[in-house]
Amino acid sequence: MSLATEHAAYTIALIGNPNTGKSTLFGALSGVRQRTGNYPGVTVERKLGELTHAGRRITLVDLPGTYSLSARSPDEMIAVDVLLGRRPDVPPPDVVLCVVSADSLERHLYLVSQVLELGRPVVVALTMTDLAQGRGMEIDPEQLSRRLGVPVVEVQARRGLGLERLKDALVTAANQPPPSPPTLFPEVFQAEVEELRGWIEAATTGDRNGASGETRTGPARFPRYLAERLILDVGGSLERGIAISGGARQTLTERLAAARNRLADAGCPIPAIEAANRYQWAAKVLEGVVSGRGEPASSWGDRIDAILTHKIWGTILLALILTVMFNAVFAWAQIPMDAIESAFDALSGALVAALPEGALRSLLVDGVLAGCSAILVFLPQIFILFFFLTCLEESGYLARAAYLMDRWMIHVGLSGRSFIPLLSSFACAIPGIMATRVIENRNDRLTTILIAPLMSCSARLPVYTLMIAAFIPPRTYLGGWLNLQGLTLLAMYLLGILVAAAMALLLKRTRLRGSRPGFLMELPVYRWPPLRVVVHRMFDRGWDFVQNAGTIIFAVSIVMWGLLYYPRLGPEELAPLVAEKQRLEQALMQEADDPSTPAEELAASLELVSNRIEGLQKRQSFLGRMGRWIEPAVRPLGWDWRIGSAVIAAFPAREIVVSTIGVIFDVGSDVEEGEGQSRLTEALQAARWPDTGRPLFGVPVALSIMVFFALCAQCASTLAVIGRETESVAWPVFTFVYMTTLAYLAALVTYQAASWLAA
């Protein structure tokens, strides 16, 4: 890296406790779209942003929200590595921007004390001063800045206040030497740290020159902060992560134990001295900086909490909120969904009229348009779901929900911490699985990851919606507040939850046995969810869906069209049917002149022949052959080869099943028909078993399909993320096998039981 480019661009790392408004600040500084939140664990991924200030290009790195830089959880490990410039994918930060919230300054200074020890330039952003003022607290930023020895800038990111001053401070700090680290620990501890550091440097000289020797300051020294952490973190996760040879590792373990013993004898018990000394330092820093405290937190918040966290009322309210949410997803989305569908119907009608029959028309209507419609039709539901989830999250309610759920989660061996990742999985298992990084206990985390895909994600919603709209009667109860369709939807979600609970229990009793996890979670102050953030996230998530899931759905729609369209049957195989069709068409033409023969009869038999041609064609297609091949296996579930084919097609991503069902059942149906009601819904209601002529679908089949999709693992992306997060191949394979087996068995039982009840 040359000096010139080094001066042109800065890298700035953002670090802060959860609920400090760090993500909001990141969004305000960089203008980059990103998910913001106010409950622990929402920012688990590394986020980058770009901005230009005073002619400098600045790269912002948003680090996971964390209470401490102790390198014990994966999130903290990433933060420590980025801040120390030890990650190859992020340049070493020129400035560390540490975000602290005014209303709990003392606790946030704990993290600041750790950041100051890293030996990099630091700027502190002070947020939520309005909240602190509302509680009668005054904070003197200049005084705080003098005490800390680094610039402190007051910002209100939501209103855009203080951002320019913050950028100025960042650019200035980047050109200045780092502040001298505060002296936090007694002499004897410092001496042990230096001794250990020297020993590690000697032990790793050989490796160091080869791999990472070419850093900016010549031969890199082992960071003092890491040496300190090695002594303080008795759990040993950092110790295992240090790259030294086997023999040296043994010695390191022995040395650490000896150092800790010596320190304990000297009156410095490890790790207790860390918290004691850091908080002592924080209290001293804040002397005279904060005035007028003692006023209790907002009393209306207390009153709300008295109800919302109540064991009975709170739980009832939580259940009510979730019921209303899922009912709304179904009910409110109906009108825009109908509108989107009829728009696509009109479009394909126009195309059918304009183009001659053949492969091109079929590709455009049944492949391209069907694919687009399959994507766009789910946007209303995704918008509504994220509207609710974001409101709950931003208001601070989700943390209360986690608190309430803890007493239930403990029964399946998990803590309330697993609740938020699992709730996020209702939107999509991928962010949910990534959110499990905040769970420190490895077995708890693994269990949560393995059951997260059982939560009904938004990709299952299309399947449920289609089946419910077509086969569950729209009965209402309690004056329209509850309807059978909404309740069926709720039942599918509950099924996933119950199976997940059983799986968690099973896993925690067997392979992932561990002690009962503890639970400690911040309950942030209640705030009105800012409308801008809510709307922004709604569109963000919707766009995400169109981009990621949408492109897959679209591509697979085209491929599936091809698998269903080809190979075409030869003229000799179709000859008798085609001849019949032509005869009927001619008869219908003459009909216009001769009113004696009934026109309806002719038209009906013409349609019958056309559909038989299409049916023959589809049976012979590649997908049809696959479907027929597995038909014996899916017959007990009440499925025919068409449903079987759609399920095969949905192996890479379950949302594809709807567009495939659309292609399979829609081809050949008259696109001008079905005004007001969904074309696909009608096609499904009209589908018959070819041998008996009985309707193919009914409530039992619809239920068995829904149950199958509620439990199956048909999502390649989720399996990939499980592989990445567990760093193994075995866990995603296990997930796929167990979920598919469960899905098959449950669908079998559902179909058989429902048919027996219906008979």
Partner: protein, 76 residues
Amino acid sequence: LIPLSRLRAGQSGRVGQVRGKLDVVHRLQEMGLFDGAAVEMVRPGSPCIIKLHGQRLGFRMDDLAHVMIHLGSAAS
């Protein structure tokens, strides 16, 4: 010195000692339950809600750690 779980709603005190497995104790101390910190019980039970440094925390005792409290009024 009494266990935190014995505090009644509205009662407050100071953390006297956190006992248990070292790294669990370390985490609790980091979150503010260090010796001498002022704690108020908001909602007893399991999990309970405590007020610590002006913030509310949902908390359930770990099998591996116990928080002991010096009873007494503790104006933060």
